[in-house]
């Protein structure tokens, strides 16, 4: 018989605002951290051992923080706010100071995408000032790399994902647009490689697994759409997964490529097997839209956590499907 649905192992409260984005940093030797960006411009750094907010950083002058990430190897935090700025933070030795900031000009909600090129240099992709514009810059030098604008009118850029294929020379970029299209860009060629219409509604979120070249995107409707890249870098739609209630805020694949989590507008987090997109669990705890999900990057797979941030101002943390990790 199937088990009863699990409960969160703990929750983090006190952010005082909707939680738009979550990012784990449990890789380093010291305390595991969870970063969250709130709707009131605060970035909380939660200590997962004490389960308290260790530091709260305010850098976007009260505007909603839509995305946070860390630059690998350095104590640098990167955050994107609705004040059209991307900030770089120095967190070393307990400091919270804005090192640098970047003006994006985007009024949308599109989250940035970060890709580590070599030690110390990263590529950052973000939506630009114009409607369909995507800009890519190099960090930390802030050198513009390219600007990608599609030929057709596709509406606003909704979500982007930058990644480095094993075979190809340069990084590729996946982007979802307001009219439901998905585009694959070659960054170095500045060329559009493939285009497909995945959803009738705007693409709200997407995630992509470079290992098996498969991705999935969510929209405001009742279906998740999965797709894959063939050898010629063509986007091919695969079967869609029906949801009970419409609307997905964010999708996230676990580091080992076995699970997919979705943050639903129906207050629920859904877990799917990543291979076949078989529904595995529905996590009910939140009382408002779930805005973000993230899997932790613990080195020990048994400690891995799933975090979900919601509009109800809480973060729930779950330990799910960790027992079978070492066998697979």
């Amino acid at each position: 018989m199937s088990r009863a649905a699990p409960s969160p192992i703990f929750t983090l409260r006190g952010a005082g605002a909707p939680l738009n984005t979550l990012h784990f940093s449990c890789h380093g030797g010291d305390t595991p951290l969870l970063f969250s960006g709130s709707g009131k411009g605060a970035i909380h750094m939660w200590n997962l051992n004490t389960r308290r907010a260790e530091t709260v950083a305010e850098g976007h002058s009260g505007n909603s923080v839509v995305w946070v990430n860390t630059l690998q190897g350095t104590d640098t935090l990167i955050s994107q706010g609705r004040d059209m700025r991307v900030c770089l933070w120095d967190l070393s030795e307990g400091r919270t100071a804005v090192l640098d900031s970047l003006w994006t000009g985007s009024v949308g909600f599109c989250q940035c995408s970060l890709l580590e090129m070599s030690t110390g240099t990263h590529l950052l992709a973000f939506a630009g000032q114009q409607t369909e514009e995507i800009k890519i810059v190099e960090l930390p030098s802030k050198t513009p790399v390219c600007t990608l604008i599609p030929d057709a009118k596709l509406g606003m850029v909704m979500c982007i994902k930058l990644w480095q294929p094993d075979s190809g020379p340069g990084p590729l970029l996946l982007a979802g647009y307001e009219d439901g299209s998905l585009l694959l860009w070659d960054v170095t060629q500045r060329a559009q490689l493939s285009q497909t219409k995945a959803h009738p509604e705007p693409v709200m979120c997407l995630t992509f697994d470079p290992q098996c070249l498969r991705g999935v995107s969510g929209s405001s409707e009742k279906d998740l759409c999965s797709w894959r890249l063939d050898g010629q870098n063509n986007l091919q739609l695969q079967d869609s997964v029906p949801l009970v209630n419409p609307g997905v805020s964010q999708l996230c694949v676990r580091g080992d490529g076995k699970l997919l989590a979705s943050a639903g507008w129906d207050h629920r987090v859904r877990i799917f097997g990543w291979k076949k997109l078989r529904p595995l669990a529905v996590l009910q705890y939140h009382t408002d839209l779930v805005l973000s999900v993230a899997f932790s990057d613990h080195q020990d797979p048994r400690q891995r956590l799933l975090a979900a941030g919601s509009k109800d101002q809480r973060i729930s943390l779950w330990s799910i499907f960790n027992e079978g990790a070492d066998t697979g």
């Binding site: 009863a4 649905a5 990543w274 009910q284």
Partner: protein, 834 residues
């Protein structure tokens, strides 16, 4: 001279023996004279006596001999005999002579002797008499006498002795009674002895001897009329059923047997038999066409079993009706029965005044008999049946008792289906319950023969199937597991899914303010918004009491007029709980509004009943003590989704009444033992009058749309019940005395109302008056009414056709008596002190 010789010889010899036995002390003489007596009983070639002598001894001297032996039971010579000699010579005389004489003497002896060894001796002889099959011999000998030679008185006595043997022995022996004299065993034995006699009769008839079954039939009748038909027919019916299956002689014997049962015992024999046989065929074989020849039997089968009595199982009905239908000559009786049944079913007075169980019984019989009709007969009866159906359904559907309405619906459906009215069928909506299903099942004829014939192979088949099913399952499992590995190695199967049944569709966001709900309910056409407003309204009322008070009456008005336009799940209970919450929150204005509206124009019955229910529930909630962790919205609304709306559920009503009665009973008997509850202020007591008195004010002013004392007795019943509830909840309130007086005055006018629901309500109200009124007020204020009330209650308890009414009346009488007794004792105690 020749004929005289054996008589005198025998007489002389017997006298000689008696003399020897009374005077001699020599054991040899004793033994020889006993042997002489025995010789008159011995049959067979080596016998010393001639058949003439034996017949003379049996006729004239056997009883005398046994009586002589009994009178000498304490004689020395008897004690002098060895045990073996005594058993052989003394006891043997009782066991070998004509059994009827022996039985009479034995029974006489047993009833005369006091407890002693002599009595023990007699008892053991009687026991052996029974166990050695002498009863069969007795019955068989009576069969052989084609003309009764002995006097009717003697037969009557013998019959009485046979049937009353268990009573006689039990009276004499008390606790030391032998098991074989106990009725269960004795009558089983008697039944098998009767079967033996019948079997011998069959044999004799085949051999060409005439037999008479009069005595056996009388025995059977007398046994049955004394209430022992159960054990007797438990033995006889299966055997007779089997024997008559192939043997015509047996059938003739059975028919003759039943024909010979005296008229006055016919009924009990037939009822016993019809309950014991399985199926109409067996009954038909045993009884034959008795109903055509015997008036009494006809009356019992066609009238009494069907229309007057109603205690029997459905199987009995099947047997009786199937029996009537099975034979061409009996079929006119079936039609006659059907007419009578349909009249009984359709009779409006019967619907009102006969017990529900009887109506159910008649309905069953009607359905069964309609089902047995042939199409030609159906055509003949069609107009009558149609009339019965229409009239009967009207009177059934008019009833306020849900079970009766259901009965009317089911029977109407079945009849219309059977009559095939231009291919149209009636179809009603009702909840299937056990009763309706049973009625419906009667329309499918039970095919196949009686179950007794079926061999045991029925038992083995389920095992086979159960063995089979797992194997197929295994096979399918194997197939699956074989096909699986080939399909895909990296599947998601390493994770077993959690239970995802709770993953339901989300509803839209619900309103946060009570005023929004109000606005939505008044003006919105959006079904989702209306539903959400209804769902949150109760919680909002309870959460913000001050906001709720501002618009309580307005919202109540809106809710009262809201209709379930969108088929919202649990609409009625949502609306109800919200109105209850409003009433509780803002008690006086809302009750004022609701009680006024109850009597105003242009409301439907449903709305008026809603008003009553809301008031009742609110009063109940108010009267409960407030507990700290109380969360009424959760408690009420969580169950509302599951339970039906209370007003729709007939069981609920009765259960509630019963539960209340029980709780009351407990309170009286265990009142002192319960620990006193923590004192909390009663929120209901100060406002009880606001609930109660406005509802009493206008009941007798009929309006165009609402006539409480006329046709709307459904509302009247509920009104009285609700008033009773208010009364009950007002216990210990200062206003209780006034309420009680007013309520008794009110219900007095309708105490013999024709509708049983109203009567139940009245009795419930009276119960609650007696419970809640302080006993001194009861005595002082209601002094003159109490006597009349008592008489009325006693009358109801005895004569009301409704069982609930009778129980409630008894309950009220008990309550009244207790209350009065307590009061009188208190007064006495006071008087003693002063």
């Amino acid at each position: 001279m020749d004929s005289l010789a054996p008589h005198t010889e025998v007489r002389v010899a017997v006298a000689q023996c008696f003399r020897t036995l009374s005077t001699s002390a020599e054991p040899e003489d004793i033994i020889s004279s006993l042997q002489t007596l025995h010789s008159f009983l011995d049959e067979g070639p080596e016998s010393r006596s001639t058949p003439d002598q034996r017949a003379e001894f049996s006729r004239a001297h056997f009883t005398r001999t046994l009586q002589f032996l009994l009178s000498n039971i304490q004689a020395d010579w008897l004690l002098g005999l060895s045990a073996a000699q005594r058993t052989d010579l003394w006891d043997g005389l009782f066991l070998r002579g004509p059994p009827e004489q022996a039985l009479l003497v034995l029974m006489e002896g047993i009833s005369e002797l006091k407890a002693s060894t002599s009595l023990d001796l007699l008892i053991s002889i009687t026991e052996r008499f029974l166990l050695s099959g002498r009863l069969a011999a007795l019955l068989w000998s009576s069969c052989l006498q084609t003309a009764p030679s002995d006097s009717p008185q003697l037969r009557e006595t013998l019959l009485a002795r046979i049937v009353a043997l268990p009573d006689l022995t039990a009276n004499r022996l008390h606790l030391k009674n032998k098991p074989c004299f106990c009725p269960q065993q004795y009558f089983t034995l008697l039944a098998s002895e009767m079967l033996t006699a019948l079997e011998r009769t069959c044999q004799a008839l085949k051999d060409g001897t005439d037999c008479s079954l009069i005595f056996v039939a009388q025995t059977l009748g007398k046994v049955c009329v004394q209430g022992h038909s159960g054990p007797v027919f438990a033995v006889m019916a299966p055997r007779l059923s089997v024997c008559t299956r192939s043997d015509m002689v047996w059938q003739r014997v059975c028919w003759k047997l039943l024909q010979n049962v005296p008229q006055r015992w016919m009924e009990s024999v037939l009822t016993g038999l019809v309950q014991a046989v399985r199926g109409p065929d067996a009954f038909g074989r045993i009884v034959g066409n008795l109903v055509l020849t015997n008036k009494k039997a006809q009356y019992v089968v066609t009238h009494k079993l069907l229309l007057l009595q109603y205690k029997y199982e459905t199987q009995v009905l099947r047997t009786v009706l199937g029996y009537l239908a099975a034979d061409r000559e009996r079929r006119p009786l079936l039609l006659q029965v059907l007419r009578a049944l349909s009249q009984a079913w359709a009779n409006p007075s019967a619907v009102r005044h006969t017990p529900l169980e009887q109506q159910l019984y008649v309905s069953k019989a009607l359905l069964l008999s309609v089902n047995l009709l042939r199409d030609a007969e159906l055509q003949e009866l069609r107009s009558e049946l149609l009339q019965c159906m229409l009239g009967g359904m009207q009177s059934h559907l008019d009833s306020s008792v849900v079970r009766i309405r259901h009965m009317g619906m089911v029977v109407g459906e079945c009849l219309s289906a059977r009559m095939d009215l231009n291919n149209t069928k009636l179809k009603f909506e009702y909840d299937q319950d056990e009763e309706t299903l049973e009625l419906l099942s009667l329309m499918t004829p039970i095919s196949g023969e009686e179950p007794e014939e079926e061999p045991e192979n029925g038992v083995t088949s389920p095992q086979e199937t159960s063995e089979k099913t797992p194997s197929t399952q295994n096979a399918s499992c194997q197939n699956k597991s074989q096909s699986d590995p080939g399909s895909d190695l990296d599947s998601d199967d390493e994770f077993s899914p959690y239970d995802m049944s709770a993953d339901q569709e989300m509803t839209k966001e619900s309103p946060r303010y009570l005023r929004d709900c109000l606005e939505t309910l008044i003006s919105s056409e959006d079904s989702v918004r209306v539903e959400l407003s209804l769902r949150v309204a109760e919680a909002l009322v309870r959460k913000n009491v001050f906001a709720a008070r501002e618009i309580s009456v307005q919202l109540t008005k809106v809710l009262l007029h809201t209709e379930d336009k969108y088929s919202i799940r649990g609409f009625l209970s949502l609306r109800q709980t919200t109105m209850v919450a409003l009433t509780v929150t803002d008690c006086i204005p809302v009750t004022q509004y609701l009680t006024t509206e109850f009597y105003s124009m242009n409301y439907g019955l449903r709305q008026r009943l809603d008003i009553l229910e809301v008031l009742a529930l609110a009063a109940q909630e108010l009267s409960k003590p407030i507990s700290e962790e109380r969360s009424p919205s959760v408690g009420v609304s969580s169950c509302t989704d599951l339970t039906l709306y209370p007003g729709d559920n007939p069981v609920h009503w009765r259960q509630v009444v019963e539960r209340r009665i029980q709780s009351k009973t407990k309170r009286l008997t265990k009142g002192a033992t319960q620990p006193p509850a923590k004192a909390t202020p009663n929120r209901y007591a100060p406002v009880a009058g606001h609930f109660f008195f406005p509802l009493l004010s206008n009941y007798d002013k009929p309006q165009v749309t609402f006539d409480l004392l006329g046709g709307d007795h459904l509302v009247l019943g509920r009104l009285i019940h609700t008033l009773g509830l208010f009364m009950h909840l007002a216990v210990n309130a200062p206003v209780a005395a006034q309420m009680g007086r007013a309520l008794l005055d009110f219900v007095w006018a309708v105490r013999y109302h024709v509708d049983q629901m109203v009567r139940r309500g009245v009795l419930f109200a009276v119960c609650s008056v007696f419970l809640s009124m302080p006993s001194q007020n009861l005595l002082v204020d209601l002094n003159e009414q109490l006597f009349e009330t008592r008489t009325w209650l006693a009358d109801v308890a005895e004569g009301d056709p409704d069982e609930d009414c009778r129980n409630l009346a008894i309950q009220s009488l008990v309550l009244l008596d207790k209350s009065l007794k307590k009061q009188l004792q208190d007064q006495q105690a006071l008087g003693m002190e002063t």
